[in-house]
């Protein structure tokens, strides 16, 4: 099958710092890809290049048949197809949850307001926070906020969803509710790239796991392979550290 994301020899520097080194990666439609690795290894930067929150200096990135370059129209086209969920939720604090969700559909996709609201309520219902629709983000718990943020991304009906440590800022008792939503999404056939330290989740739903270190993809494979028989010693060391905590 034609990959929905193709990265070829992608290199990225922050000033002198070489954060992505010769990254080549294909993602198939409907694939759930989990990215693991120590902090500072370039995981966030990698997924942020896909909707061009981070531009790259070298290499090619093609998303859903559109090549990412300086062209603003290309970038905006890609961002309509790619949803993103952040570690810090980044909901818009001056808008209610419902307003957060319908903003992009009405302003970017130009969907009529009533239709956008109906769709938003359906999605909020699905993640279990329909009753919070008219509250402001600050009035919700962390878990509820993150579910709202997922809905905000889904409301644009994206083909790809990017998750950057979506549960890392949550209290432990709220991690489950967010992971459940993500599991449901994975089952529904969404293409997902997930940066996470939740190894249980990775084992459950990932089609493929990538281990990154110092800006390189060190090792990749199906979850069982990576978790049970890691080949590379850096992968072994990382997993040993993670799994003992």
């Amino acid at each position: 099958m034609e990959p929905i994301i193709r990265m070829e020899n992608v290199n990225k520097w922050f000033g002198e710092l070489h954060v992505l080194k010769d990254i080549s990666l294909d993602v198939a439609p409907g694939e759930v890809l989990v990215i693991i690795g120590p902090s500072g290894s370039g995981k966030s930067t990698l997924i942020r290049t896909i909707n061009r929150l981070e531009p790259v200096q070298k290499g090619r990135i093609v998303v859903d048949g559109v090549e990412l370059n300086e062209d603003v129209r290309n970038i905006e086209a890609i961002r309509r197809e790619v949803g993103m969920v952040f570690q810090q939720f980044n909901l818009f604090p001056h808008m209610t949850i419902l307003e957060n969700v319908i903003l992009a559909p009405t302003r970017v996709r130009k969907i009529p307001r009533e239709q956008a609201i109906a769709k938003a309520m359906e999605l909020l219902e699905r993640v279990g926070i329909a009753d919070q629709a008219n509250k402001y983000p600050a009035q919700l718990s962390g878990g509820q906020q993150q579910r709202a943020a997922i809905v905000r991304a889904l409301a644009m009906e994206p083909k790809i969803m990017l998750f950057d440590e979506p549960t890392s800022a949550l209290d432990p008792e709220m991690v489950g509710e967010v992971l459940d939503v993500m599991r449901g999404l994975a089952r529904s056939g969404m293409t997902m790239l997930v940066v996470t330290h939740e190894m249980g989740f990775a084992r459950d739903v990932a089609d493929r796991v990538i281990f990154m270190d110092e800006g390189r993809i060190v090792e990749e494979g199906v979850p069982d392979e990576i978790f049970s028989h890691p080949q590379h010693e850096r992968t072994q060391a990382f997993l040993a550290r993670i799994l003992h905590h």
Partner: protein, 376 residues
């Protein structure tokens, strides 16, 4: 007794604080005592009611003053509505009592003319009729700024049945203040965005403008607007004095507003930009829907502070020969009948400015609180 406990804790803990409290308190009492003895025995307050029209509207023709009453009634109506929307805790009992007290006061006030009494009554009734309406129409919140702008333009239109060079007194002061705010605010936004822009030319020009204006006193900008504008504008297109003054004030205030807004812009976390881009909003949409509303919200107190500053600075209008409140006071005092009554007149002016500033400052706190709901 809680009061006594409070006093003991805050005013009389230790001999040093006790000494301080007693001496400051003593001075204060002595001062208030002599002022009030003067105010109730010596002061000849009749200078105020006798010159009331002069102080309020200056040379505005008496037979046309109804225009200003209409304008005032529009304003008080909208004010009542806004209070209803933002100040929920004013329960019906309190507002009714307040309304009654004010109305009785207006009706019983000895010195005013019957016509004035009627209009004042009407303006107040409009306020208190609009207030309960506002409490029921919370959805109005979004439209209030636009309604205020429209009401302001309407009021200006009604007032301009008389040429601008005859506008004066407190009325002129208010027109200049509000016009300045209305013009300076969007100008300040544009300058703030300009200064934070990634395009070097725009950023440089905005920075230059802001720093230049902030580096000179208001008086010089006013004089410049006064003297220089006629040089650029053709002879036959004489710009009224008042417009020139407003231009000067607005150009000045915009630079300060810009700096406040810029502070607000920088306070919006990077994640907000990224989240907006990530859902597909364009740069322009990101700024208008996400960044600016948050930036402005965080600097509302500073913005209203600037509005209060403008209100007080309008007293400088006197030096470029406009008939503002202060210059009308001088006119009143130049009448031999009122020789030597400066104290009465200037105390009254202080009171007017103070009440105006206090109302604005109260409004700011209410708006801030009402908007606080949507902040982190």
């Amino acid at each position: 007794m809680r009061f006594v406990a409070w006093m003991r804790k805050n005013l009389f803990d230790g001999w040093w604080n006790t000494l301080l409290t007693l001496s400051v308190g003593g001075l204060l009492i002595a001062f208030l005592r002599s002022v009030s003895i003067w105010a109730f025995t010596e002061a000849r307050w009749y200078v105020i009611p006798n010159n009331f029209r002069l102080l309020m509207v200056g040379p505005y023709p008496p037979e046309e003053v109804w225009r200003l009453w209409v304008a005032l009634t529009i304003t008080t109506g909208l004010m009542g509505l806004s209070f209803g929307v933002f100040v929920r805790w004013w329960g019906p009992a309190l507002s009714r009592a307040l309304a009654l007290a004010l109305l009785i006061w207006v009706l019983a006030w000895p010195v005013v003319m019957p016509g004035t009494r009627l209009w004042l009554f009407l303006a107040l009734v409009t306020f208190f009729a609009a207030y309960p309406l506002g409490t029921r129409l919370a959805g109005l919140r979004k439209f209030l700024p636009v309604m205020w702008l429209l009401a302001f333009l309407l009021a200006l239109d009604v007032a301009s049945g008389v040429p601008m060079n005859r506008w004066g007194g407190f009325f002129l002061t208010m027109v200049v203040t509000v016009s300045t705010v209305v013009i300076a605010f969007p100008l300040g936004l544009i300058l703030a965005l300009g200064r934070t822009s990634k395009m070097p030319v725009i950023s440089l020009l905005s920075t230059l403008y802001i720093e230049l204006i902030r580096g000179v006193p208001l008086v010089t900008v006013l004089f410049l607007a006064w003297i220089m504008v006629p040089l650029f504008v053709p002879e036959n297109l004489r710009v009224p004095q008042m417009i020139r003054a407003i231009a000067g004030f607005a150009l000045f205030a915009a630079a300060y507003l810009a700096e406040y807004v810029r502070g607000g812009l920088q306070g919006v976390p990077k994640g907000q930009w990224e989240a907006a881009w990530a859902v597909g909003l364009s740069g322009y949409q990101t700024v208008t829907y996400i960044i600016l509303p948050q930036a402005i919200r965080s600097v509302i107190p500073a913005l209203i502070g600037q509005a209060i500053a403008i209100f007080k600075d309008t007293s400088l209008l006197v030096i470029i020969g406009l008939f503002d409140l202060l210059s009308m006071a001088q006119v009143a005092l130049s009448n031999p009948k009122y020789l030597g009554l400066e104290r009465e007149v200037y105390l009254f002016l202080m009171l007017v400015y103070f009440i105006g500033a206090a109302v604005l400052s109260y409004a700011s706190r209410r708006v801030e609180k009402a908007m606080g709901l949507g902040s982190r």
